[in-house]
Assembly symmetry: C2
Homo-oligomer: 314 residues x 2
């Protein structure tokens, strides 16, 4: 926000207004938008320099100003400001306090700066780390390491539960080692489908396309998507085993059973991953946390652990 903005008064004539703006030239950020204030500094409207140049010089500021004014407060999210500026095709927007007194303006070029930084942080969070505060090569090595190590350790501790969960199936794995071969395939498929869903939802939330109350629309859509994607991967997995067996027998006499087990497990884990991944940002936001914490690796870990806990090797 920049507090140095151009001001006008309602009763000024166009000539007076232009002269008055000239005096303000050196200490305001822009004179292209001048804000009409009353005695209490409340904004009554805006006049663009274009309007003044165009207008008949005998008119007053009140005649040419636009009373309908988009305003933001100093707590408004930068993304929302960017949205207002781009949708309404305006170059600057006034910032007002609770009493309606004007505090400053935000211009489009300021917003570009902030948006670039914000997008970088969002992308780094999706990649599973704390956002860096500056450019990659200029960030100190230890500072960068700290930002990466934090999430890496959290994910590692979470993923440790997979070993615990798998320990319960140790006997089944001993009996059918062939199924153990497919564990990485199963859990990564769940993780990937979850990453996709989470990433879509986080971004849609950040852009204001989705609100908390939309969770029901999202879950029905993602459940359908999850089942469809799960059937697709399940079918490929099944065919892969059956065809592989025909070419080069690997899976023994129960290869059809192995095929069905893997195929149905894929359907289950992809559906579960998709639904869990899409709901996680809603749950985080509902708890007052940042939905963007649900990074791709975070969702993958969650789905790995819960997927394994539910898995049954028969």
């Amino acid at each position: 926000m920049n507090p140095r903005f151009a001001r006008l008064r309602l009763e000024q004539t166009i000539d007076q207004a232009i002269t008055y703006l000239r005096q303000q030239l050196s200490h305001v950020e822009t004179i292209y938008y001048a804000y009409v204030l009353d005695e209490e500094q409340r904004s009554l409207g805006v006049v663009s320099l274009k309007d003044l140049v165009k207008a008949d010089t005998t008119k007053t500021v009140a005649d040419v100003m636009t009373g309908k004014l988009f305003k933001v407060s100093d707590t408004t999210d930068q993304k929302e400001i960017a949205h207002l500026l781009s949708v309404h095709n305006i170059q600057a927007i006034p910032v007002v306090d609770r009493q309606g007194c004007m505090k400053g303006i935000v211009t489009a070029d300021d917003v570009i700066d902030v948006m670039r930084e914000q997008s970088t942080k969002d992308i780094q969070k999706v990649g599973g780390m704390e956002a860096l505060d500056g450019p990659y090569l200029e960030t100190g090595f230890l500072a960068m390491l700290r930002k990466r190590a934090g999430w890496l350790v959290i994910l590692f501790l979470g993923e440790m539960l997979t070993a615990t969960a798998m320990a319960h199936y140790e006997h089944q794995i001993e009996e059918a080692v062939v199924l153990a071969l497919f564990i990485p395939l199963l859990i990564s498929s769940g993780g990937n489908s979850g990453s996709q869903a989470t990433t879509l939802i986080i971004r849609a939330m950040a852009l204001g396309e989705l609100r908390l109350r939309d969770w029901w629309r999202v879950i029905s859509r993602e459940l359908t998507a999850g089942i469809a994607l799960g059937c697709l991967l399940g079918a490929i997995g099944f065919l892969r085993i059956v065809i592989w067996q025909a070419v080069k027998p690997t899976y023994g006499q129960y290869y059809l059973l192995v095929g069905w087990t893997i195929g149905l497990s894929l359907l289950g884990v992809v559906t579960f991953g998709t639904v869990a991944g899409s709901m996680l940002p809603f749950i985080l936001r509902r708890c007052g946390l940042d939905p963007a914490s649900a990074s791709a690796p975070f969702v993958a870990t969650l789905v790995d652990v819960t997927g394994l806990v539910k898995a049954r090797f028969r």
Copy 2:
């Protein structure tokens, strides 16, 4: 780009210029910046409406114009334009063709629009899918499914190689099932560290902070980071096994050997994941492909497969 921009001529007086701008008001996007063109439509400089309002009316456009002008071509990347606008604090930038003839202007509010879309696409790619073309809820169900299924199937086919790679170790797994329990932990740790490195590098490339020739600086930095992070996770993994064994014996008499195997494997897979993840965007760009294709799930899959191929269960 908007071809409707305000024009002035070098020899016009300030009064003439303001009158001339008034005539253009209805058919240009902005009169806040007017471009001074010669007969061949080559841009000689720029005059802001602010300069005109401030200037002595006896002067000419040539006296008040700024000859040093940032220009872009119609092939310039939107991100670069955003960078120019925000760094130099300007609201509009002229677009010129190869002959230097002015074709139009790009204004800051146009750039905000494009940047929002671009960031959304970048984030969706990091999440492991093709970018949607519109808002989440407005994208048709089948169109969305196609964009997600494509990458999901590619990742699935890639991940299938894990089953093939693991088949080679089937006998070792039968002999030491306890090691198989740690496979998800190992491969996800490699995948997570790779996701972090890839995400950092892709974004730094998109912002123009890194170029192809910087790969050497990156690899030395990431190798050190990978070893440091690998030691950290390896130590946690080792301690977890030793402490768990003390509390509740699970890993048999060779628990120290299991601890060392897992600890060292973690060091290896995290170092490998970090280096591979950071180099992949360079390799993709070197091959003329979009570095952003190296999504977090893509890198995770690559690291899973290559990590397993190299793994040795002794």
